[in-house]
C-alpha cells in the first residue's frame, strides 16, 4: 500500500479532572505517516507535548487490536472515527489527508462521566452486568459440554451478540444516550442459549432496572448504535431485549 505524510490540526478535549471545566485545545502535528494508527498519531502528539513541557493527553487504550473495548474517542463527530465496524485503535491515518482538522472528544453521556481529558468512567456497564449478565453456575457444577446440543443458528446468533466489546460507542452515538444495544446484546446471548433459561426472566428485568438507574436514555430506534458499533452488533438484539422484557414483565407474579 502506498503511504504518504501529512500535517494535521487537532482539536482535543482537555479536562483536568471530573470536577474541572474542560475545553477544546488546538495542536499541530507534522509528518504523520498514513501507515500509523490513530493512537500512534496520538503517541506522537503526546511525546511532543512532554518534550515541550506540557501535560500529555490522557486517553484510554490497551490492546490496540480492537478487542478490549477500552479505546473510546469521538472523532470528527463519530464514535471511533469515520471507518465502519472499527475501533479507534484500528483506525489508521490513511483515513485522513494532509491539512485536515480533526476534532477529538470523549464519549458524552451522563452515565459516562469524564475522568480526565478523553477518559470516561464506564463502570455503569459493569454494574449492569452485575445485575444479571451471567449464568449462575459455580465452578465445578457443569455437565459435559456436549450433553446439550445447541442449534447452530442459535449458537451463531448468541456468538454474534456476545462479540460486544463493551466500549460504549452505542451510548456515545445514540442521540438519547441509550445503552439498549449493550444490554440487548448480553440479554440476547444468554436468552438464545438453553443454559440461560433458568434466569431468563429475572435477568432481563434486573438488567433493565439497573440500566435505568444508571441514567441512560431511552431507545427511539434510530439504529445509529448498530451503524457505529465496532463489532456490528445488530439491533435485532434490542428487539429481543424488548420482547424478553415484555414477556418477563407480564409473566412476573408481583402485583
Amino acid at each position: 500500500m502506498e503511504h504518504y505524510l501529512m500535517n494535521l490540526t487537532l482539536k482535543v478535549w482537555r479536562q483536568k479532572n471530573n470536577q474541572a471545566k474542560g475545553k477544546l485545545e488546538t495542536y499541530q502535528v507534522k509528518d504523520i505517516s498514513s501507515e500509523m494508527s490513530f493512537l500512534e498519531m496520538f503517541d506522537v502528539l503526546n511525546e511532543q507535548l512532554i518534550v515541550e513541557g506540557k501535560e500529555p493527553i490522557a486517553f484510554d487504550h490497551d490492546c490496540r487490536e480492537g478487542i478490549c473495548g477500552m479505546c473510546s474517542m469521538y472523532i470528527n463527530g463519530q464514535a471511533h472515527g469515520p471507518w465502519q465496524q472499527n475501533t479507534t485503535c484500528q483506525l489508521h491515518m490513511r483515513a485522513f489527508k494532509d491539512g485536515d482538522t480533526i476534532v477529538v472528544e470523549p464519549w458524552r453521556s451522563g452515565a459516562f462521566p469524564v475522568v480526565k481529558d478523553l477518559v470516561v468512567d464506564r463502570s455503569s456497564f459493569d454494574r449492569i452486568i452485575q445485575a444479571g449478565g451471567f449464568i449462575s453456575v459455580n465452578t465445578g457444577n457443569a455437565v459435559d459440554a456436549n450433553a446439550m446440543p445447541i442449534d447452530k443458528k442459535d449458537a451463531d446468533n448468541a456468538f454474534m451478540a456476545a462479540a460486544c466489546i463493551g466500549c460504549g460507542a452505542c451510548v456515545a452515538t445514540c442521540k438519547n444516550g441509550s445503552a439498549m444495544l449493550f444490554v440487548g446484546a448480553k440479554v440476547s446471548q444468554l436468552a438464545l442459549l438453553p443454559q440461560g433459561a433458568p434466569e431468563r426472566e429475572s435477568r432481563v428485568l434486573n438488567m433493565v432496572a439497573q440500566m435505568d438507574k444508571e441514567g441512560f436514555g431511552n431507545c427511539t430506534n434510530t439504529y445509529a448504535c448498530e451503524a457505529e458499533c465496532p463489532k456490528g452488533i445488530s439491533v435485532a438484539n434490542i428487539a429481543r431485549l424488548n420482547s424478553e422484557f415484555l414477556l418477563a414483565g407480564l409473566s412476573t407474579e408481583e402485583k
Binding site: 478535549w13 463519530q78 441512560f216 436514555g217 431511552n218 431507545c219 445509529a224 428487539a239 422484557f245 414483565g249
Partner: protein, 222 residues
C-alpha cells in the same frame, strides 16, 4: 416487577408509545378510508353519511374516548421521553455527525410529533370542535363536505395541511416499523416485509390525506 415498575421502566415507556402509536395507526386507516369517500365525487353524500354515522353512533363515540385517551398518552409520554432523553447527555458534542449513522426522520420524532400536535389543534378546530358543539347543542349538524370545500379554497390552509401531511408521513414512516421493533418483532425474514408494509402504509395514507385539500383546491372534485 410491579405494574408501576413495568410502565415506568425505559422499555415500558416505549411499549406505551408503541401500543398507542399502533392504535393511532389503525385509527388513521379508518379516518383516511372515510375521507376517501369524497373521491366518489357524489357531492359528499357518502362521505357525509359516514361522517354522520361516526359522530352519532354510540359505540363509535365510546371508542372515540379511547382514541383521545391514546392520543393524549402518546403525546404526554412522547414529550416526557423527549425531555428525559435530552438530559441523558448533559454536555453536548462540539462536532457531531449523526447523518453518518442514522436517518434524520428517525432522530426527529419529537419535532415531527410536535408539528403534528400543532397541526392537530388546528385540524380539530376546523373539523371537530364545531361539529361536536353542534351535536350537543342540538344545532343543525355541520355539512363537513361543504366545510372542507370552503376551507380548502384557501392557499394558506391547503399549504398548512400539506405541511401537516408531510410531517405525518415521516412520523409514520419511522413510527410504523419502530413500534414493531419496540414490541420485539425483528426477524431476518419478516422485518424487511414489515418495513415495506410500513412504507406502503405511510405512502398510501399520506397520499390520500394530501389529495383531499388538493382535490378541493384544484376542483378535481365538485
Amino acid at each position: 416487577m410491579t405494574w408501576r415498575h413495568f410502565f415506568t421502566s425505559s422499555i415500558g415507556k416505549k411499549f406505551t408509545m408503541a401500543f398507542t402509536g399502533l392504535f393511532l395507526i389503525t385509527f388513521l386507516i379508518v379516518h383516511a378510508s372515510i375521507n376517501a369517500c369524497i373521491f366518489l365525487n357524489d357531492g359528499g353524500a357518502t362521505f357525509n353519511a359516514f361522517a354522520h354515522f361516526m359522530s352519532h353512533n354510540w359505540i363509535v363515540r365510546f371508542l372515540e374516548l379511547g382514541l383521545f385517551g391514546g392520543l393524549i398518552v402518546h403525546i404526554i409520554q412522547g414529550l416526557l421521553l423527549w425531555k428525559q432523553n435530552g438530559s441523558s447527555r448533559p454536555v453536548a458534542y462540539h462536532v457531531n455527525q449523526p447523518s453518518k449513522n442514522s436517518k434524520w426522520y428517525s432522530r426527529s420524532m419529537g419535532i415531527l410529533g410536535t408539528l403534528l400536535l400543532l397541526f392537530l389543534i388546528m385540524h380539530l378546530n376546523h373539523f371537530y370542535i364545531g361539529t361536536k358543539i353542534a351535536l350537543y347543542s342540538g344545532d343543525q349538524p355541520h355539512n363537513l363536505y361543504i366545510e372542507m370545500q370552503e376551507l380548502f379554497s384557501s392557499n394558506l390552509i391547503v399549504g398548512l395541511y400539506i405541511a401537516g401531511v408531510i410531517a405525518l408521513f415521516w412520523h409514520l414512516y419511522h413510527g410504523f416499523q419502530s413500534a414493531l421493533q419496540t414490541l420485539g418483532i425483528h426477524h431476518k425474514r419478516y422485518t424487511p416485509i414489515i418495513k415495506m408494509a410500513g412504507t406502503g402504509y405511510a405512502v398510501i395514507i399520506c397520499t390520500l390525506f394530501a389529495l383531499m385539500p388538493l382535490a378541493f383546491y384544484f376542483h378535481w372534485i365538485s
